[in-house]
């Protein structure tokens, strides 16, 4: 299948070239650092909620952990912004790699399960803590699985691409 020409256009744009090739401290590695920190916030906060629901730190009151959703969403939007910039730098590299679509799917599932957890467990104030834990158990387990999958798929993007650029096979 031919690679769409639009990727070439994006890669030749000023911003794409700058992110990719500039020796500046604030170019590629700067954005990649934000992508790592955003991951730490998004997944780190989710994992704390999941572990608590699965029984770690049982004597910790569960409902105030709802506040961690603020961190989750902060991390999420950092990921969207930094991810878009990385996509502008290397569109062909990402979109020609099936692993990239796998990563997006897994992130979508993980975020959806975290939101379900919020609705079913944290937003229902009639539930007792044991009820919250029982109700959230499956959701927490699955979101953990999806997060590990998403991080793995993301990390492997650096090793599985077919094209580095439009006219450069990796």
């Amino acid at each position: 299948m031919a690679v769409p020409l639009i990727f070439k256009t994006i890669e030749e744009s000023g911003i794409s070239t700058w992110i990719r090739d500039s020796p500046s401290f604030f170019a590629y590695w700067f954005i990649l650092s934000f992508h790592a920190i955003g991951m730490g916030l998004l997944v780190g906060a989710s994992v704390v909620i999941d572990l608590r629901i699965l029984g770690v730190a049982r004597d910790l009151p569960l409902s105030p952990l709802k506040g961690l959703y603020g961190i989750i969403w902060t991390g999420f939007w950092i990921q969207v912004a930094s991810g878009l910039l990385l996509l502008i730098a290397y569109p062909t590299k990402a979109f020609t790699n099936p692993d990239f679509y796998l990563k997006l799917t897994l992130i979508g599932l993980a975020v959806a399960f975290m939101q379900k957890l919020r609705q079913r467990v944290f937003s229902d104030s009639t539930l007792t803590e044991p009820e919250m834990m029982t109700k959230g158990k499956a959701l927490a387990t699955w979101s953990l699985v999806f997060w590990v999958g998403a991080v793995t798929a993301g990390r492997l993007l650096a090793y599985t691409y077919n094209y580095l650029k439009y006219d450069y096979r990796g």
């Binding site: 990649l32 790592a36 994992v47 730190a57 105030p64 506040g67 793995t152 090793y159």
Partner: protein, 321 residues
């Protein structure tokens, strides 16, 4: 100053530090003195942290000596081998000590009785004794490199050094040559370790700073072993990267800064255990404000761990070409 200076500055710390901490630990066990036990455990952890730059700067010292005709390469190899075994043993000792410290720090409301169990302490004792022995061999073979006056004319030989040198080679082969998937999988584990560390340390620090204030502090401490596990995963995977491509890392300034920052960040983690800093926090109930010094430690810890992540991402940027 080059890495040989750093190595000469640091190299006696793990050797003597392990011995001193071991002596102190023995006294504390005989006298059954809890404060002394905690001090020894904190010392073991600190020595384990300092052993990281000591080992790594050794490769730099080796590079500096390469040109000297009067230095025996086989002596360096024996030393490097012994140092690797001593380093691995010391890191495991440090991990066991951290777990002991963690058990101590939550004695206030410990459902299983007081402090770390006997098995935990005996494990530390055994590992520390092993580390002391290995450190002695590492120190001895290291001395042979430059101080030919202590050799009675013959080339230094060391079985332990030879075993360690073989292990260094085997690990290098495993990381680089055995499969193209080893490195990516290690990278993946390194990121998952980062998440465990940042998540567990982060939520504790944020509570101290007043975010999620409705949470009582003591139970949050249960997340700390997950953070220690994450840190452990990253020390192991990180060390495997290093043994895979030592020349890529050793002169890289960003990598050196990262190691230094880990030292500082690791120390803030230790401060929570070996000073009374956490003791007074254990009783912090829902809605209560943490004391200012605890907030200071919490901010430092967050800033330092984020810096470690950023520096890690910038390592390729600092590549020496």
């Amino acid at each position: 100053m080059n890495l040989a200076h750093v190595h000469l500055l640091l190299n006696h710390i793990p050797v003597l530090g392990t011995l001193i901490a071991l002596g102190l630990f023995l006294v504390s066990l005989v006298a059954n003195h809890d404060d002394l036990k905690q001090t020894s455990l904190a010392l073991f952890s600190l020595v384990a942290l300092l052993a990281i730059p000591t080992y790594i700067s050794g490769s730099g010292a080796q590079g500096a000596l390469k040109e000297s005709p009067d230095v025996s390469m086989s002596a360096i190899e024996a030393h490097q081998g012994a140092a690797l075994l001593a380093f691995i043993s010391m890191e495991i000792t440090g991990a066991a000590s951290l777990i002991g410290l963690w058990r101590f720090s939550r004695t206030v409301k410990n459902p299983w009785g007081s402090g770390p169990g006997r098995l935990n302490l005996l494990t530390v004792l055994f590992l520390a004794a092993l580390s002391s022995g290995l450190m002695a061999v590492a120190g001895n073979t290291g001395g042979d490199i430059r101080h030919s006056e202590i050799l009675a004319g013959q080339e230094a030989t060391s079985t332990i050094g030879a075993v360690g040198a073989g292990l260094t080679e085997a690990i290098h082969h495993f990381v680089i040559d055995s499969s193209m998937w080893v490195w990516p999988i290690l990278e993946d584990l390194h990121f998952l370790g980062l998440i465990l560390l940042l998540g567990s340390v982060g939520v504790l620090n944020l509570r101290i700073l007043g975010f999620l204030k409705q949470l009582p502090l003591a139970p949050l401490h249960r997340f700390i072993p997950w953070g220690i596990a994450g840190f452990g995963i990253n020390v192991v995977t990180g060390f495997l990267f290093y043994l895979g491509m030592p020349d890529f890392y050793i002169l890289n300034i960003v990598f050196q800064l990262k190691m230094f920052t880990i030292l500082l960040a690791g120390t803030t983690l230790l401060v929570f255990y070996c000073t009374s800093a956490f003791r007074s926090l254990e009783n912090l109930g829902p809605g209560e404000d943490a004391p200012l010094f605890a907030k200071f430690i919490a901010v430092s810890s967050i800033v330092l761990w984020i810096a470690v992540i950023v520096l890690g991402r910038y390592i390729p940027f600092g590549e020496v070409t």
